[in-house]
C-alpha cells in the first residue's frame, strides 16, 4: 500500500459472495463517522446501500462471503485483477463461514435430500475462504466484523500505513472490561482463550461463552482447550463447540474433524487443503 495523493479520493467497492450481508452493513453502522468515510472515499459499489454497480477498478475492494459456486470462483478471480487492495470482511470471506460446515459432509447426498431437483442447484462441493482462490491483502475477521476495525482499516489505507489492529485473545478485552470469566467461574465452555479478539468480548459480557466468530488467534492452542472441555463432555459435543462460523479455519478445523460435531458424517473435510495455518510449535 502506498499513500495516495493528498487530494485524491480513493474508490471503494463492496462485493458479496455467499454471505448474509451483515458485514457490509457494518459500514453503515459507522453512523457518525460515515460522513468522514464518504468524504474521503468514493464508494462505487455497495449492494446494501445502492443498486449502482461498478466495473472497477477499485483502490480498495471489500469482499464479503465465501466462494460457494463456480460463478463466484470466476468472479473473484476477475475482481482481483481490478482491485489494488483486496480486503476480505467477515468470517465467510476469511474462513468460509457457517456454510463451510458442508465441507465435512457429502455434498451430493445433501443436495439430493433437500431439493426436489438437485440438478438445478449449481453449487461447489465446498464453501471456501477467498484466500484459497486469490491473493488477499488484508482480512477483517468477525461475524460480523467490528466497525472500528473497518474504520481503522480504511484509515490505514488512506494514510498508507499498516492497520493498527491488536492480535490477541478475546480474553484481553474481556478482562479489560472487568468481566468475570464464564469458563472458570461457571464451567461454561468458551472459545475466548483461543479466539482472536475484536468483538469487545461481546458474548462473555452477556454471560455466554465465546463462539469463536473472529476465528483462531495467533498460536491458538485449540487442542489444549478442547482437551480441557472433554472433562464431563462427549467428544462430539466438544467438536461442535468449534464447528461454528470459523470451523474451517485451522486449528479449529482439525478439532472438528477429529472430535466430530458436524451434524452429518464427521468423515473429514471434503477438501483437506494445506493443513495448518498458524499452528503451534508442538
Amino acid at each position: 500500500m502506498t499513500a495516495p495523493v493528498a487530494t485524491g479520493r480513493l474508490s471503494v467497492g463492496i462485493v458479496k459472495f455467499a454471505s448474509c450481508d451483515g458485514c457490509q452493513l457494518s459500514l453503515l453502522d459507522l453512523e457518525d463517522e460515515l460522513l468522514e468515510v464518504v468524504g474521503k472515499f468514493d464508494i462505487v459499489e455497495f449492494p446494501e446501500a445502492s443498486s449502482v454497480r461498478s466495473s472497477g477498478p477499485y483502490d480498495v475492494l471489500l469482499v464479503e462471503g465465501s466462494i460457494s459456486t463456480e460463478d463466484q470462483r470466476r468472479e473473484i478471480a476477475e475482481l482481483r485483477g481490478k482491485a489494488k487492495t483486496l480486503v476480505t470482511i467477515g468470517a465467510c470471506a476469511s474462513y468460509g463461514g457457517i456454510q463451510a460446515l458442508r465441507n465435512w459432509v457429502d455434498h451430493d447426498a445433501v443436495r439430493a435430500a433437500v431439493y426436489a431437483h438437485p440438478e438445478y442447484i449449481e453449487s461447489l462441493a465446498t464453501a471456501t475462504p477467498v484466500r484459497e482462490h486469490v491473493k488477499v491483502d488484508a482480512e477483517l475477521h468477525g461475524c460480523p466484523i467490528n466497525q472500528d476495525q473497518l474504520r481503522e482499516l480504511l484509515a490505514s489505507v488512506a494514510l498508507g500505513r499498516r492497520p493498527q489492529i491488536r492480535e490477541e485473545a478475546v480474553c484481553l478485552d474481556c478482562k479489560r472490561r472487568g468481566n468475570v470469566c464464564v469458563l472458570v467461574a461457571s464451567g461454561m465452555p468458551c472459545l475466548g482463550p483461543v479466539t482472536q479478539g475484536g468483538c469487545g468480548a461481546l458474548c462473555p459480557t452477556y454471560g455466554r461463552g465465546c463462539y469463536g466468530c473472529f476465528g483462531p488467534k495467533e498460536l491458538a492452542n485449540a487442542r489444549s482447550l478442547a482437551d480441557s472441555f472433554l472433562d464431563g463432555r462427549e467428544a462430539a459435543d466438544v467438536g461442535r463447540l468449534f464447528a461454528g462460523f470459523t470451523a474451517y479455519a485451522e486449528p479449529f478445523r482439525s478439532i472438528v474433524t477429529e472430535f466430530g460435531g458436524t451434524r452429518m458424517d464427521p468423515a473429514g473435510p471434503a477438501t483437506p487443503t494445506a493443513a495448518s495455518e498458524g499452528g503451534n510449535d508442538r
Binding site: 500500500m1 499513500a3 468522514e36 468515510v37 468524504g39 474521503k40 472500528d148 474504520r151 481503522e152 480504511l154 484509515a155 490505514s156 488512506a158 494514510l159 498508507g160 500505513r161 499498516r162 493498527q164 491488536r166 492480535e167 490477541e168 485473545a169 480474553c171 484481553l172 478482562k175 479489560r176 472490561r177 472487568g178 468481566n179 468475570v180 470469566c181 469458563l183 472458570v184 467461574a185 461457571s186 464451567g187 468458551c190 475466548g192 482463550p193 483461543v194 454471560g207 488467534k217 495467533e218 498460536l219 491458538a220 492452542n221 489444549s224 482447550l225 482437551d227 480441557s228 503451534n280 510449535d281 508442538r282
Partner: protein
C-alpha cells in the same frame, strides 16, 4: 462511645491492651474494636471525605470489586471454592463479610486501569502537536485489601515510582486511594502468600487494617490518615480475648497454607533452567491467552493504541494493558523475538520469579493464586516451578540507571530541516527546533519518534549537531516509510534521548575496533564523531563495515573521509558485489582474517543483526577480547522507551533503559539465545 468521638486513649481498656503487650501498638493506631453493626460508619466516613468506596460484592458468580455504599452490598456469608482452573462461590455457615478469598479482579484495575488516555496528537500541514491527557483521578477508598494485594501495590509502586522515570498517572491514582486492609481469616488451596512472604497478616502499606471476628472487627491504623479516620469511628479498645482470637485466626490461615513454594534460591534455581525441556511441555497446555497475567496484581506491561481520523490530522492515544503472551508484544519490523509459546511462557515465569528481583528488588509474585485459579486449563505455577527449578548459584547486581533524558515521557516537537537520501531505502532526517538538552545526549542513545496516527518508533540518533540531531531511518515498513516521506519543514514528535550510550571513556588509551553491518552504522556514527573529535586520546582505531551490496552502504563519502584523514582504518565488505566494487566480498568477520592486530587491550563496539554480532563476538574472543571490553547494542520491540511498558525485556534487563548498549558480560546467557 458514640460515632464521631475520638477514642479515649487513656481509658482503662486501652491501657490494659498495651499492658498485655500482645500487640506493640501506639494508642492512636489501636488495636481498637469496631462492632459489626458500626462498619457502616466506616463506609459513611470514607464517603464523607469525598471518596468513592470500592469493596467486594457478589456479581456474575464471583466476588468482584465495585463501588459500594452500604454494608449490605458486602458478600455476607459468602465463601468460595478455588482450585487450578476453577472458581465457585459457596455459602458459608457463618455471616462473615470477608470470609472469602481473592476474587478475579485485583486492585490494580483502580491504580493501573486497563485503559488510560495518554495524549491527543494533531497535525496541521507540516506542524504537529501533542497534548498530554490530564491526570485527575477519582478519590477512592479500597475496602478489604488483603496482605498479598497490599504487597502487590507495593511492588507496582517500585515499578512505576521507584526508578528514574515514573508513571504520573499511577502516582496520582495511588495517592488518591485510601487503603482499608483486611487480614485473611480464610485461605484457598491456590493461596501461597506464606511462601512469598506477603501474608496472611498485613505488614504495612495500609491506612487502616481490620481483622474480622464474629461480633465485629479489630482495627488498627497504619498511617496518619488512618489514625485520623479511626478517631472518628465508634470504636472501643479491643480486649485481650479479641486480640487473641484475631491473632489465632490469622495464625490458622498461615498454618493451613504452609509453604507450598519454597523460594530459597529460586532466582538462581530458575535462571539456570533456560533450556529445560519443561518449557515446551507447558507450551502444550498453555493457551497464550494471557489470563494469568491479566489477573496478576503485579503485571504492569502496556501498549499504546491509537485512533486517528481518516486524514491523520487528529489521533488519540491510549495506554492499554498488554502482556508478554500477545502476538505483537516482542515483534519488530524483521520478526518476533518470542515466536514460540514456550518462549512466552518462559519470559513470564522467569520474570515473575527471578529477573524481577534483579530489576526491582522483589519477586514479581505475591502468592495470591489468581493465575492458578483463573488459568482456563489450570496450569499451576507452583507445580511448574517445582518441576523446573532445582539447586542454586549467586545473584547479579542490578544495572545502573542511565542519565535522565531531556524529554523522557512526553513528546516534544521537532522540525525536519533536511532529508538526505543515503541508499535506496535509507534516508537521514536532520531535525531542528529541539529542546537543547536533546543535543547533549550520548552516542548510542535513541529517541522515540512519532507523528499522530502512527505508532511511535525507537530510532537511533545518528549524529548530534550543534542545534539538532540526525536520525537515519530504513524504510522497513509503512511507518518508517512515512517518516522518511514527511519532507523538509514537517514536524514530528520526539522523546529522548533514551537509553545507554557507547562507553567511550572505557576506550581511552586503548585501541578501538568497531564492527558493524547495514543500518547498524547509524548508531555508531556519533561514536565515530566523538572519537575523531579527540582522536589523540585513543590508540589505533579500526572500523569494519559490511553491507548487502555496494549500493546499500551508508555514509559512503564519510567512510572515505574518515580513512583519508587518517583518523581510522576503514575496511569494507559486501555480500554481493557489482561492477563498481573492487573490495572484499563476504561477511564482515572475514575482514579480520586479513589482519594481524592483537585485541588483548582493545575495546570493541559492535552493532548489527544479532546473528552477525554473535559471529563477531566469536571472532573477537579469538583475538583476545574479554567480555567486559565488547559492547553491543540490541534491538527489541519498544513502546515507552523508559522501562515501564515491559515490551523490551530481555531476561532481567530492559533493553530501552538498561541498554540498548550493553557490555557483553552484563548480558550473560541471554545474548544470542533464541526466544528471549
Amino acid at each position: 462511645m458514640v460515632a464521631g468521638t475520638p477514642p479515649d486513649v487513656s481509658g482503662p481498656d486501652a491501657a490494659r491492651s498495651i499492658e498485655l503487650a500482645i500487640a506493640p501498638a501506639t494508642p492512636r493506631s489501636g488495636p481498637w474494636f469496631l462492632l459489626r453493626a458500626n462498619l457502616q460508619v466506616l463506609i459513611d466516613e470514607l464517603r464523607a471525605d469525598g471518596r468513592r468506596v470500592i469493596g467486594p460484592t457478589v456479581a456474575d458468580g464471583a466476588i468482584v470489586l465495585d463501588e459500594i455504599t452500604t454494608v449490605a452490598e458486602l458478600p455476607e456469608g459468602w465463601g468460595d471454592r478455588q482450585e487450578a482452573g476453577q472458581y465457585r462461590l459457596e455459602r458459608r455457615r457463618d455471616r462473615k463479610l470477608f470470609g472469602f478469598n481473592n476474587g478475579p479482579a485485583s486492585w490494580k484495575r483502580f491504580t493501573f486501569p486497563p485503559v488510560v488516555p495518554l495524549n491527543v496528537g494533531r497535525r496541521e500541514g507540516r506542524a504537529v502537536t501533542f497534548e498530554p491527557a490530564a491526570v485527575d483521578p477519582p478519590r477512592l477508598a479500597f475496602l478489604g485489601v488483603r496482605g498479598c494485594e497490599l504487597a502487590a501495590l507495593g511492588i507496582q509502586d517500585r515499578v512505576f515510582l521507584g526508578g528514574p522515570y515514573t508513571d504520573e498517572d499511577y502516582r496520582a491514582r495511588r495517592a488518591a486511594a485510601f487503603v482499608v486492609a483486611v487480614n485473611c481469616t480464610t485461605a484457598a488451596p491456590t493461596c501461597f502468600c506464606t511462601s512469598m512472604g506477603t501474608g496472611p497478616e498485613i505488614r504495612g502499606g495500609h491506612d487502616l487494617v481490620l481483622t474480622e471476628l464474629d461480633e465485629g472487627f479489630l482495627v488498627r491504623a497504619g498511617s496518619e490518615a488512618g489514625a485520623d479516620l479511626l478517631a472518628r469511628l465508634p470504636v472501643k479498645a479491643a480486649d485481650a480475648g479479641q486480640i487473641f482470637r484475631a491473632a489465632e485466626a490469622i495464625g490458622k490461615v498461615a498454618a493451613t497454607i504452609g509453604d507450598p513454594l519454597p523460594t530459597a534460591g529460586l532466582h538462581d534455581r530458575l535462571l539456570v533452567q533456560f533450556d529445560s525441556p519443561r518449557w515446551a511441555e507447558i507450551a502444550e497446555r498453555c493457551l497464550m491467552c494471557a489470563n494469568c497475567s491479566m489477573v496478576c496484581p503485579t503485571c504492569f506491561c502496556s501498549s499504546v493504541t491509537q485512533k486517528s481520523d481518516l486524514d491523520g490530522h487528529v489521533s488519540t492515544s491510549e495506554r492499554v494493558w498488554d502482556f508478554c503472551f500477545t502476538a505483537s508484544f516482542a515483534r519488530v519490523a524483521g520478526g518476533n523475538f518470542r515466536n514460540r509459546p514456550r518462549d512466552r511462557y518462559r519470559q513470564w515465569l522467569t520474570h515473575k520469579f527471578a529477573t524481577w528481583i534483579d530489576q526491582f528488588g522483589t519477586f514479581g509474585c505475591v502468592g495470591c493464586g489468581r493465575c492458578i485459579a483463573w488459568c482456563p486449563v489450570g496450569i499451576d505455577v507452583r507445580e511448574e516451578l517445582m518441576a523446573i527449578a532445582p539447586p542454586l548459584e549467586t545473584r547479579r547486581e542490578p544495572a545502573e540507571h542511565p542519565p535522565a533524558a531531556a524529554s523522557p515521557t512526553e513528546y516534544a516537537t521537532a522540525r525536519i530541516e533536511a532529508v538526505r537520501t543515503e541508499t535506496a531505502d535509507v534516508s537521514t532526517l536532520v531535525l531542528g527546533g529541539l529542546d537543547p538538552a536533546f543535543v547533549t545526549g550520548r552516542s548510542g542513545q535513541f529517541a522515540m519518534v512519532t507523528v499522530p496516527a502512527y505508532p511511535p518508533l525507537p530510532i537511533s540518533i545518528s549524529r548530534y549537531l550543534r542545534e539538532g540531531i540526525e536520525l537515519t531511518i530504513r524504510a522497513a515498513g509503512p511507518a518508517t516509510a512515512m517518516l522518511i516521506g514527511l519532507g523538509v519543514g514537517a514536524e514530528l514528535g520526539v522523546r529522548g534521548p533514551l537509553g545507554t550510550g557507547w562507553p567511550l571513556e572505557r576506550a581511552v588509551g586503548r585501541d578501538i575496533v568497531i564492527v558493524t553491518g547495514g543500518i547498524g552504522l547509524a548508531p555508531l556514527r556519533p561514536l565515530v564523531d566523538a572519537i575523531r573529535a579527540q582522536r589523540e586520546r585513543f590508540g589505533a582505531v579500526r572500523l569494519y563495515y559490511g553491507a548487502r551490496t555496494p549500493a546499500d552502504m551508508l555514509y559512503r563519502h564519510e567512510l572515505e573521509s574518515w580513512a583519508a584523514d587518517g583518523s581510522m582504518d576503514v575496511a569494507l565488505t559486501v555480500d554481493r558485489a557489482d561492477e563498481s566494487w573492487h573490495g572484499p566480498v563476504g561477511v564482515v568477520t572475514h575482514l579480520f582474517d586479513r589482519t594481524t592486530w592483537d585485541g588483548s587491550r582493545a575495546v570493541a563496539f559492535v552493532c548489527g543483526p544479532e546473528r552477525m554480532m554473535q559471529a563477531t563476538v566469536d571472532s573477537l574472543e579469538e583475538r583476545g577480547f574479554s567480555h567486559d571490553r565488547i559492547f553491543v547494542t540490541l534491538e527489541r520491540h519498544m513502546e515507552c522507551g523508559i522501562g515501564l511498558c515491559g515490551h523490551c525485556q530481555m531476561g532481567s534487563l530492559f533493553v530501552c533503559k538498561d541498554g540498548p548498549v550493553f557490555a557483553l558480560c552484563d548480558l550473560g546467557q541471554v545474548f544470542g539465545r533464541e526466544g528471549i
